[in-house]
Amino acid sequence: MSLPAKTPNQSRRIVLHAQDVWKSYDTGAITVLKGANLEAVEGQSVALCGPSGCGKSTLLHLFGGLDWVDRGHVSVNGAKIDRHRNLLRLLRHEVGFVFQLHNLIPDLTLAENCLIPTVAAGVDRTTALARLKQLTDRTGLTHRLDQRIQKLSGGERQRTALCRALMNKPKILLADEPTGSLDEATSTTVFNLLLDLVATEGITLVMATHDRSLAERCDRLLEMHDGRIHESQQTQ
């Protein structure tokens, strides 16, 4: 059972809530989540640790509306995530995703990749470009705006993915092994940037990771195993 950490965060609004969530695949043959519970308040950074296949990514997908629970319920900003929810609004304005693989479109430039969410959401170009400049200034990518993705380093690609995820100013960032494909030094750089951005923009971060040293730098560290979430002693 995982409750909000007993910290000053307690008074803040709960933005992510998973209650008794069950999820299985292959028509029930593989049960990944077995009554998982999680609450995260606004501005909080939460690390989800656990072995491969324990359900970290699945939980992130459920919060992002990419998949549905079998049982229990998941809500984001107080609204239940189900087939009736306006998922486009959720994906365009409420949550941003960063994956282990950068998942950028290789034939487009850095700027064009970052602008994709604004195109989807119909944000006017001036506003979108201003936001792009703001984010690329913060992430040190301004001089690479017109570069194609193939010409960027691994760290630059992941920073681009981070910019893209934040273009529409979501208040929740779901990061699935965001530094998993980077070397240690680059990983630390990207993660510092990630924490800096979520802190300054007041974003709630839920990050699945195997890297305990990174996870320990989050407000909360949750352990996942046997389909459930357990608060780590370190953040109790």
């Binding site: 990419l66 994956f99 034939d107 602008l115 994709i116 969410p117």
Partner: protein, 370 residues
């Protein structure tokens, strides 16, 4: 702008595949344009034979082909005498052959026929026509392929005819034909006392309806039709037109299948990319529009290329002397519009399944797709 780039980018990634799809549509459009234009040109030329200085054609009711029509000479004489008629020219059509040419169109006409009046005489004189039973006048091209000069005797069918004139007309069928006196043609084709049609010029075009009614009342076995009306309703023309569109349509279907194949490949090879777009807020509709957009680009480029290729091909065909007068390459805006719209429709139809598939892609599953 980025949305457009997303559309074009994927086409640029697979240039060969895109080129093949564009070529498929282009060939289809060019084929349809060429076939339909040639046939419509041919129909126009054939109609031109009938409408030479006349606006109404009278022929036997319910015949499938004018070559089988028998109009009594007495009817031609009576119609010529009607007050509303400026002149009525009986014409007998026949097909003959010579040693090297299996098909030569033969026109049995009277000396007063408009064809002889309006043509440019290259050799001989009009007044010499029909002085003797074995006299013939050749069209310029017929004279060329029969290798005949004024005064020669040329073997046509089972007879030999004396060339008393060579004339040039703008109509390919006439230019490659043989004109003989009506009486000689009736004998030659064993159609004594009949012609195939009567071409009629009225003193006042407004009398057309009255004229047709009089034909119906006086000659129940005949029918009079205005030229445009005839062109629309003549079964041979309709069959030819339908065939042309069917052949062109088959080409477009094949082109459409090419587009469908390209679009299916396009979707299958970037399932993960489509999932990423979904995760970044693209709606099902936006994904669908993107796929249809790719298809529309392929179809549009293909259609424009096809129009250019088809037009060039027709212009080249027009330069071939043997085809002179048979092919009318006048570009018909309506035909071009129809062909382009059909190509676009085909392209869009070809993208239906791929677009539906792309729209159904579940991001969560596609993200695991390698």
């Amino acid at each position: 702008m980025i949305f457009l780039k997303l559309i074009v980018t994927n086409l640029q990634r697979h240039r060969i595949r895109t080129f093949i799809s564009v070529a498929g549509i282009a060939f289809s459009v060019a084929a349809m344009l060429t076939v339909v234009t040639i046939l419509q040109g041919a129909i126009g030329m054939f109609s031109g034979i009938l409408s030479s200085d006349s606006e109404i054609v009278v022929f036997e009711r319910n015949v499938s082909d004018l070559f089988f029509s028998n109009v009594p000479s007495a009817a031609a004489a009576e119609i010529a005498g009607w007050s509303m008629v400026a002149h009525a020219d009986p014409v007998l059509f026949g097909i003959v052959s010579s040693a090297d040419h299996p098909i030569i169109t033969c026109f049995g006409i009277t000396a007063s026929d408009a064809r002889l009046r309006n043509a440019t005489w290259i050799a001989g004189e009009r007044r010499a026509f029909a002085q003797n039973a074995d006299d013939v006048v050749l069209g310029e091209r017929a004279a060329q392929f029969l290798n005949a000069k004024l005064g020669d005797h040329v073997p046509i069918g089972h007879g030999a005819f004396h060339v008393i004139g060579i004339l040039k007309t703008a109509n390919g069928f006439e230019d490659g034909g043989v004109f003989m006196p009506l009486a000689s043609a009736q004998t030659f084709f064993h159609k004594d006392g009949t012609s195939s049609v009567i071409t009629v010029k009225l003193r006042n075009k407004d009398d057309a309806a009255s004229f047709k009614a009089m034909v119906k009342a006086n000659f129940p076995s005949l029918i009079g039709l205005e030229d445009a009306e005839f062109t629309r309703s003549y079964s041979q023309f309709r069959i030819l037109t339908a065939t042309a569109w069917a052949v062109g349509g088959c080409g477009l279907v094949l082109g459409g299948l090419g587009v469908a194949n390209t679009m299916i490949m396009s979707v299958f090879t970037r399932i993960r990319e489509i999932a990423i777009l979904r995760v970044n807020g693209f709606s099902h509709l936006q994904i669908g529009v993107m796929i249809f957009g790719e298809s529309a680009v392929v179809s549009t480029v293909g259609a424009v290329s096809g129009l250019l290729a088809g037009t060039c091909f027709l212009v080249i065909l027009k330069q071939v002397p043997a085809l002179h007068g048979y092919i009318d390459v006048t570009m018909q805006p309506l035909l071009m519009l129809i062909v382009v719209l059909l190509a676009l429709f085909t392209g869009i139809a070809g993208a239906l399944y791929p677009a539906a598939y792309a729209m159904r892609i579940r991001a969560v599953e596609a993200l695991r797709f390698e």
